[in-house]
Symmetry: C2
């Protein structure tokens, strides 16, 4: 893995679209990107959702690209008036937003082959900040783009997923976060004290507990995460001993 880094590789995601904030569309991209980056050893640290408002997009992109190794955006790169992501990203980078020659060639060919008019609206999809690198879109051709550390993708989940696959091989990645889960029949109120002590004894792990509330009572899933497999194993031994102790004292 030529791009794998020993130091943490971080990321933020920016979801762009009024339709998510109005509740009309339920986002399906955040969970996908979270899983995908986790598998690549890229730590997703922050997600933001903003409306199709240039100022909001510019502010968010500039805040996030300064702070994290990678930024991934979804939404707002279609052919209509409310698709303003290319303009906003250009503005964030202080670059002109212009027709990308490769994107123009791709789309010209695509619509010609289908006997469809290459309208002004469709040409909007060929616009990128000057100097951007395209992200392949095997599904509907209109590309995403990369400018510095910002990866701009479509909002339609099936297309966004194909774009992630297209760009992933060239991403700088880190050491993969590993995890192990332990099912716990007790609620967090019972295990909270001793689990905190186990966390203190295993600082190289992150121990999370996730309550499930069913039929009026709680159970918990305990998840131990680390980039160091033996550290997880050691913490897990302590968690299992704690659970055995609690069970025998019931």
């Amino acid at each position: 893995m030529p791009n794998q880094s020993a130091s943490p590789v971080t990321a933020a995601m920016l979801v762009i679209g009024d339709e998510i904030l109005s509740g009309r569309t339920k986002d399906k991209n955040i969970g996908f990107v979270a899983d995908y980056l986790n598998n690549l050893g890229i730590d997703l640290i922050e997600v933001r959702i903003v409306a199709d408002e240039e100022e909001h997009i510019v502010d968010a992109v500039n805040a996030l690209r300064a702070r994290y190794t990678h930024v991934f955006t979804s939404g707002g790169i279609g052919p209509t008036h409310d698709d303003i992501t290319a303009d906003a990203i250009s503005k964030a980078f202080n670059l002109p937003c212009e027709f990308h020659p490769e994107a123009m060639a791709l789309l010209t060919k695509h619509y010609k082959a289908r006997n469809m008019e290459y309208t002004d609206a469709r040409m909007r999809m060929a616009r990128t900040p000057r100097g951007a690198k395209l992200i392949d879109n095997p599904i509907s051709i209109a590309p995403g783009f990369i400018i510095e550390n910002v990866h701009v993708m479509a909002g339609v989940p099936v297309i966004m997923q194909a774009m992630m696959d297209a760009l992933a091989p060239s991403l700088k990645t880190g050491t993969k976060m590993l995890s192990q889960s332990v099912d716990c029949p007790f609620g967090e109120g019972t295990i909270g004290g001793p689990l905190g002590e186990i966390q203190d004894r295993h600082p190289n792990t992150m121990i999370g507990s996730y309550p499930q509330f069913r039929d009026g009572s709680y159970s918990t899933q305990i998840v131990i995460r680390s980039k160091d497999a033996p550290a997880i194993d050691a913490a897990k031994v302590d968690v299992e001993e704690m659970l055995a102790r609690l069970k025998s004292s019931k």
Copy 2:
């Protein structure tokens, strides 16, 4: 509606939790809150997701509470070591985080009635910034809380939803956003140009178009939103005329 305001009432949501960013848990609260606020006439302008890291929570809460009428948070108010939301919110407001007398009374009574020990871990759930007002939790008792314009709720969806119901009657609300949808058999590339012109002629509406990609071709749902019902009707007439024109020219 005594709390209804003529000027826009805005909101941000802050989702707190490593488990969302790692992909382990798929968020179900954002879509719920988006729908809920939309129905109350509160405009959800921004969402952020951050990890269980004090500094990240403090920064996000302070950025959002200064900018929007309301902030709603979900997650991190349980009994374990990684539930640090009460501490982080207190720090954001520069207030001590302390046992809330009413919350202590509620939880003492609750565990006593169930013959369960009121452990140190469970007592964590009675901590709030000094002066906070509690949010009722009819499901599992441990309350949320309100400090100034920040509403702090549980992350477990069924509990968060009950807390929204509990706090909604006292929220300052605005004029409800209305919307109408028009199904469009054409892709965005076909309608993008004329739809942009319609948007220009109807500045008091927000016209969105949402592509659906199925079986290799696009269709679109056109959504017209406004707080002014006649403005929506007028824009819709233009949209329908445009579609009729496109159909007859096929």
